[in-house]
Amino acid sequence: MNAGAALTLYVMGAVTVLVFLLAVTPLRGRWRRLPEIVGLAGVAATAGIAVAQWGERQVAFAGEIQIDRFSLLMTWIVMIAAAASILLAWGEPAAAGRRPEFTGLVLAAATGMMLTVMSGNLIILFIGIELLSVSLYILCAIEVTREGSLESGIKYLITGSIGTAILIYGFSLLYGVTGTTSLAGIAERLGTVDGLLDEPLLVAAIALIVVALGFKASAVPFHMWTPDVYQGAPTPVTALMSTGTKAAAMGAFLLLFTGATQQAAGDWRGLIGALAVATMVVGNVGALLQDNVKRMLAWSSVAQAGYLLIGVAVGTLAGAESLIYYLFAYVAMTLASFAIVILREREVEDGDRLVAFTGYGRARPWAGVVMTLALLSLAGFPPLAGFVGKFLLFGSAVDADMAWLAIVGAVASAVSVVYYLRVVITMWAPQPDGAAEPRRLQVPASVATVAVAGAVAVVGLAIWAQPLLDLCAGAARALIIP
């Protein structure tokens, strides 16, 4: 018992409360940015503590919170997503007057994501998922005067709560079969009690949990909400949803399946594999039809959820390792592309439409290069991080005798090249004659930082993949419950 091990959670909790307190304090002049600065400092401190704690598993609160290589590495992903979304919203004109609340809610959502990946118990896992969902419902609707934002909020709320209800039902059946809510306890019972694996209630529990987490990770057929919610929400929130939420949902998948119910792998491998295939196919086909870049990225994030699910479906440590690596790559390329969309949105009306990007690469070459790198990496072009991640994921599927997953994945990636390249080509096309010079403004340094950092990471993670892969391998080993 070592309550100090959960230091990261205390820091995030305290910073969240502090930022909400600042939100009700009138701040003027140079103090105006204080909530954002406090929030970023808290995120940096948490990331620093996570580095310092790297090592063997420590538990707090009788094993309810587990601090190990897996949860610390996932905490890093969450902190990157949270810091990026605070930076992307820095000076966002649409959110003026609500920035402190925005920062506080981002921190609350990040705390929920951390709690999810650190959980050693179904109850804690549930609280984590809910803390992040509830914060994101509000974040989606934070521009209360814009109808699209409200619509996005209510749609997310309703589909999200259905997912929550199904999750609870699945957890209750899992508890009913095993008689414990502790993840380690579940793994132990499944391994020692005879006949438990053939229990129909266990199969039902697994199916319900897969469905519910599928809602949160926007896997087909529970993805219907994704395009509308991603398009309607303020873009910094969309960036957080598509990176942080996806990472937390994948973390929950790994904890529950590759970790706790590893013994029952025969019950869920085919199911999650089928879900991955459907998600890759539908996501990529859906993205083909879009003429709005933000909406295209939403469909693409559905497709990416499919690639990520391969790492869960194979059920091996190699699968988990490649999944975590791909999450890093995915976070980098997604944040870079959303940063460029935000830049364009601030410059022109309806800046998320594809036509608004015509010739943008010529007008602002560095932004064009960042977007090109990010989209090529999402499509899986060779020297970039997205390629390395996909290669590892597909390789783990072949090693686990699930080569059909790799084949569908490769075909789906080939299709995805069409819509990613369409944006790239549009960006470098010449301006149409007679078109007005796009309104250009001073590039906000915060947005530029996220964009450039993302693009550098897309290249860097591919060239220096080995150190990160070693970390990911350690994280995957921590999933196995002793």
Binding site: I127, Y137, L157, Y169, L173, Y175, G179, L289
Partner: protein, 101 residues
């Protein structure tokens, strides 16, 4: 009195199905929230039933946590519904369709 676990499970399954039907058929966001509430309580009933079956308190703790979370969700749902009602004075989720595809 000893209630068999099957009774708990039948009741909770019934509630879950009722909630699912409600979610699919109702168009008013308030009714949708109520149906989701039914589904959450279906989970609670089976958690408490299993908690008695195993004579283990953690199921009841879980049910209490679920209640708190459900309350939080409803608060946000109602807030959003009020905000939408202010801007359009008409509540039907089918009309919330400025984005399509």
């Amino acid at each position: 009195m000893n209630v068999p676990i099957e009774a708990y499970l039948m009741l909770s399954l019934g509630l879950l199905v009722l909630g699912l039907i409600g979610v699919m058929r109702r168009r008013n966001p308030l009714m949708l929230l109520l149906s989701v509430e039914l589904m959450l309580n279906a989970g609670n009933v089976s958690l408490i039933g299993f908690s008695r079956l195993w004579d283990d308190p953690s199921g009841q703790v879980f049910a209490l946590v679920v209640m708190v979370v459900a309350a939080a969700e409803v608060v946000i749902g109602l807030g959003l519904v009020v905000a939408i009602f202010r801007s359009r004075s008409n509540l039907d989720v089918d009309e919330l369709s400025s984005m399509k595809g």
